[in-house]
Subunit: 204 residues, 2 copies
């Protein structure tokens, strides 16, 4: 009976090996250049072997996508110590922006790319993403309850904050600002200023 367990363990090890390799290649070379064949060569297995552990490329990137969300969520929860909910909201925003700027490839996978979506559709619930969003939602709930903020629909408010942050960084990450006549550092400065203004306008 112990053999079955060992086999299960080996199967998981192989999955981890693939994910680790894929993650490394993805962060180094980007999504497009991280092909099944590149991963296979990296782990010194045949490309076909990968399909014994993952149903397709999307599933691999779904796992990476989940790990990235866990990372973001972890950074979010560090703000548990901030008791004032509005201040915590501001901290969450700041963390979100910085996460995107520091990990543009992860951010892409989490919020922009279509790749992991097909897999998300297969799962009953989008655990990873909901977890991080729930933290924003809880914080927003605190803001609303304590009347620190204008408006009473915490869902709408959370969606708005998320959208604003996402709009800023996704336009930035996908180069829609540098294509205009705005210098790099000015734009980066504006990200913070924009968020500060946005939150200030939200204040009750």
């Amino acid at each position: 009976m112990a053999i079955k367990e060992r086999k299960e363990r080996e199967k998981q090890d192989m999955r981890n090996l693939i994910i680790d390799s894929a993650t490394g290649l993805f962060l180094k070379l980007g999504y497009d250049k991280t092909s099944i064949r590149t991963i296979a060569e990296d782990i010194e297995y045949s490309p076909a072997t990968i399909y014994l552990y993952f149903k397709d490329k999307d599933e691999i990137f779904y796992v990476i996508h989940e790990n990235a969300f866990a990372l973001l969520d972890k950074e979010f929860r560090k703000h548990d110590v901030i008791e004032n909910h509005f201040e915590r909201l501001a901290a969450i925003c700041s963390t979100y922006i910085n996460f995107a700027l520091k990990n543009p490839d992860y951010y892409d996978l989490m919020f922009i790319m279509r790749a992991p979506l097909s897999q998300i559709a297969c799962e009953e619930t989008w655990t990873a993403g909901n977890c991080a969003f729930d933290y924003l939602l809880d914080t927003m709930s605190g803001c609303v309850d304590e009347k620190l903020i204008k408006g009473g629909d915490k869902f709408l408010l959370a969606m708005s904050v998320w959208s604003f942050g996402h709009g800023l960084v996704s336009l930035y990450v996908r180069g829609r600002f540098d294509v205009m006549n705005m210098p790099e550092d000015v734009v980066k400065d504006m990200l913070d200023k924009a968020v500060a203004n946005f939150l200030n306008n939200l204040k009750a």
Copy 2:
């Protein structure tokens, strides 16, 4: 000498033929399934011929991307008749959101995809995009001058409005809302409500 002009005309006709075909296929089948070979088959030419008129696939989609911006810009300028700048700003936002929902593929190409960016980098200025953004900037300028709005940095304000709108529709278009426990129609409703709230909070 007239032959040279006719040749030039024929060259332009061929370019238009390719762009028209590519645009139709793109709107019908999406970006990925619009391959050079698909376009070639559609216009009844060999795939290699396309490379006599466009340097690569990106250049084709850059032209489509430019046309899409001209379309959005045209819709924007319809609001010239609205004299109150804040009301015009609201109209621009509404038009932006509706454009994205009606033309998700165009929107993708304009604000999310990387495909046309390599070409944008080649051009001196991003004419198409700047034109539409300038209209927002001018309207915002009016709002600031007439003190209809909080804050004085029109550039920061325009960037904020754009980012907020983009955040909402890009999360929507790329399926980041329907992946959560939010029903489709509720989300669509929230888009309008969110913009309304956002603009309201901006009011002086």
